[in-house]
Symmetry: C2
Subunit: 489 residues, 2 copies
């Protein structure tokens, strides 16, 4: 950091900025990542100075940073949309697939003036929203309205928009799963609301019990909290469970009954690894129950960052906003318009993700091979890491049915807990820092996601490429044995 004078010599200080900003925490890029970056710099400067030769980032769902290749068709269309001048050149036929050229032409024809460098409609280019709505219809078997789609720079800004809309003060509560993805706690803190936790049941594979949600709702109400919305992350982050359709029906009925907005984080909808589970969108479940616009207020978040494509750097995504009155919809539109529009490449990619090549298209076979290779490799990696974790003394790990994470529980010896307290660290943060310093493996302490008090976890992605997995398993195993031996009670 360039500024190093003491805080008090500046007019703006940590004690006179917005206290909501100070309160907000975001563990996925927090202290452990700062330590990893320092180690990385130290490794670059002095190779061989640590007991490992590379940092293995298992802290964040960022597949392409770990070597996952992008889907060729998607990148072809993006490149052609960025530089349409080459569309009619003979050389282009040799470099790009015929259907990527055709798709880029179609997309350009949907953008007023073929101008990929222009601000679009604040909700996103209408033709791209049409393609997304068609993709949702094909997925769900129920109609989707392109006017319900708001394209965004990834799912995060969409979540912020909803929190900004719903939270008036600290008396407004948002029901969030614990463990949760810390975007939710961060966004609720930034908007000055109250996170109302409901606990997922680790013993039943991170089950979501409506009775628990109801208990927490009643408890919050009794404290004068007006609970506005229920966040559900399915497939789960950091917990990896995939909800059953029956469970989803209960949740939908509960939200209708209680007048709660259902905020459905469905960004891992393509990431399901077990044959016995299938992703169902909450909108499909609601419509299957016969619930229409006036029965339930439902927002579904989707992102190009996840799925098999993992295009995090493109910052594309959308929210499908249903069951709001016209007056409130206008307010959502106004919030979108203040930021003009989301980035057009991300918009295009969102449409591609929801309408990939089809059987018979020139790119289909390659697309299918790339997609299936990634998904089946993720399935294998999830299983290998899960098995390895479950072999460790005092560690138990639920199955990653979906998403990109394992969230093992670690039973730490009392001595380790004391040692952590002595250095003013949460015991799981202490464990994760020791792991990183010993092995170069970066995982995020469970305390960043929330957990039942007195239990300790960490989140580990399943994203390192398969050739790295054996090294991670052996380093983690060796570290864990040594750690437990060191602190054994």
């Amino acid at each position: 950091m360039a500024s190093s004078s003491s805080d008090s010599s500046f007019p703006v200080t940590a004690s006179n900025i917005n206290p909501k900003v100070v309160k907000c925490e975001y563990a996925v890029r927090g202290e452990i990542v700062t330590l990893a970056q320092k180690l990385q710099e130290s490794l670059n400067a002095n190779p061989g100075s640590h007991p490992f030769d590379e940092i293995l980032y298992c802290n964040i769902g960022n597949p392409q940073s770990l070597g996952q290749k992008p889907i060729t068709f998607f990148r072809e269309v993006l490149a052609l949309s960025d530089h349409p001048d080459i569309l009619d050149r003979a050389e282009t036929q040799g470099l790009f697939s015929a259907d990527s050229i055709k798709r880029a032409q179609t997309i350009l024809s949907q953008i007023p003036g073929r101008a990929t460098g222009a601000y679009s409609h604040s909700q996103g280019v209408k033709g791209l929203r049409d393609a997304i709505a068609a993709g949702i219809e094909a997925r769900d078997g129920f109609p989707a309205d392109p006017n319900d789609i708001f394209l965004t720079d990834g799912a995060s800004p969409a979540v912020h928009t909803m929190m900004q809309l719903l939270i008036r003060s600290e008396n407004d509560g948002i029901l969030c799963p614990i463990p949760q993805y810390p975007l939710y706690s961060a966004s609720i803190a930034l908007h000055g609301g109250t996170l109302v936790p409901y606990y997922l049941d680790e013993a039943s594979g991170w089950g979501l019990e409506v009775s628990e949600v109801k208990k927490q709702l009643e408890d919050a109400k009794s404290k004068g909290i007006s609970v506005r919305a229920l966040v559900v992350i399915n497939p789960g982050n950091p917990t990896g469970q995939v909800l059953s359709e029956e469970n989803q029906r209960e949740i939908v009925k509960f939200c209708k009954q209680e007048g709660l907005v259902l905020l459905a984080d469905e960004v891992y909808q393509e990431n399901v690894y077990v044959p016995e589970k299938k992703f169902h969108s909450f909108k499909k479940v609601a419509r299957s129950l016969g619930y229409g616009e006036s029965d339930i207020t439902l927002v579904s978040f989707q992102s190009v960052s996840k799925g098999y494509h993992g295009e995090c750097g493109k910052r594309g995504g959308y929210m499908e906003v249903t069951g709001f009155s016209a007056e409130v919809r206008e307010q959502v539109y106004k919030l979108a318009s203040v930021n003009l529009c989301s980035n057009i490449s991300g918009q295009i990619l969102s449409s591609l993700v929801m309408s990939p090549p089809k059987v018979g298209d020139e790119s289909y076979e390659l697309y299918k091979a790339e997609r299936d290779a990634i998904l089946s490799s993720l399935t294998r990696r999830a299983k290998t890491l899960e098995d390895a974790l479950n072999k460790l003394e005092g560690v138990s790990c639920n199955k990653a049915e979906g998403a990109m994470y394992l969230f093992p529980r670690i039973r730490l010896p009392e001595k380790a807990i004391k040692a952590a307290e002595a250095v003013n660290k949460a015991p799981d943060a202490f464990y994760c820092a020791r792991l990183l310093n010993a092995t170069g493996v970066v995982v995020v302490p469970g305390s960043g996601f929330g957990q039942v008090p007195g239990t300790w976890h960490f989140r580990c992605t399943i994203l390192p490429q398969e050739d790295k997995i054996p090294a991670i398993v052996s380093r983690l195993t060796a570290f864990h044995e040594k750690f437990i031996d060191e602190f054994r009670d």
Copy 2:
């Protein structure tokens, strides 16, 4: 809108959402644009149904939507970065310039794993920030630190970040010019602060008088407002003035003296149309005065949406953050990290804008020709529109020295003001709606930007392509004469 049931049948209503959202206004995409979209649809459905054959959008600084072509070199590099697989193919040599291939290679080598699909560092890719810092140094003649650069999805999110950081409650004030770009009033409203207006002096070409700023600051203080920052837009939006270096020095000294953060909106730094004026960054002015990090807290906003390139749809930009303590800088970093990172294409484009081709590069001549053609055409368009506006009865228009707008004052007859009141509209909104219905020309009422009470203006961009300008001038002139005749007192 799909939802049409009455507001009260939904759990979320316009009266129980965040009142800050309801309060926020954003005229650039407000009522007048909704009317324009309706007319557009009507024209598409029934060509010939209106006294014009196209809608001419002069409401927003969106050059490529009006036919401006992108800079070839920038788009070549973006396409190659999106699809690096083609970099080594023989056909690519025929399709792309040699220096665009080289630049893409350099950029890819700066991105860990060459992964343009990965989340980057939360401030943006380090190598791209290096290029931007070098560009700032070359522009200013003073050092710039890549660690001071935060890459963002356009300038708007950067402005929101600063408002979020500085505003604790309605007792915190932000000094803003009036007229202002309504992103500022919208963002201050959303974050619950108080806009402290200072008036630009129309009679002296929208001059910024420090005495006026001081008067408003004292006035706000006397009301118990804690004023945190001063917003200066240079070149001005919607006012088009370019500040003199002497004026900027006064402003910098004033901010130091009063302990105000200087929020410098410098997104139009490439858009200067008069030989007697030159853009100077506030950082250069501050450093020229000998002011360092501990003397003044200064944030400069830059965007790829403006300049000669006008790449609005790419949502790229950055803020250069200087003079904050390390503690506060950490908080800014945390806010950036909650949204992970800005889109990588926008990051790359930001670096290209700050380091375009140089003399001797293969692309230089084409780049220079494209850039100069756009800037000289904008200069001609500004002059033609300014002259035409000044010829209208009761209209006076300051010079567009820079930026992309004219902001003429219209003296409306008393009868027109009464007619506007009768339909519950601001008189300038009434004028603009009539203009749109009669001519298809979309301009934004001055009331959306703020103006001295009792004066009326509109903002008109200089962005329609040159072949459209004569039609705009003749339609506007004919409309205005008829309007004044109709309402003449």
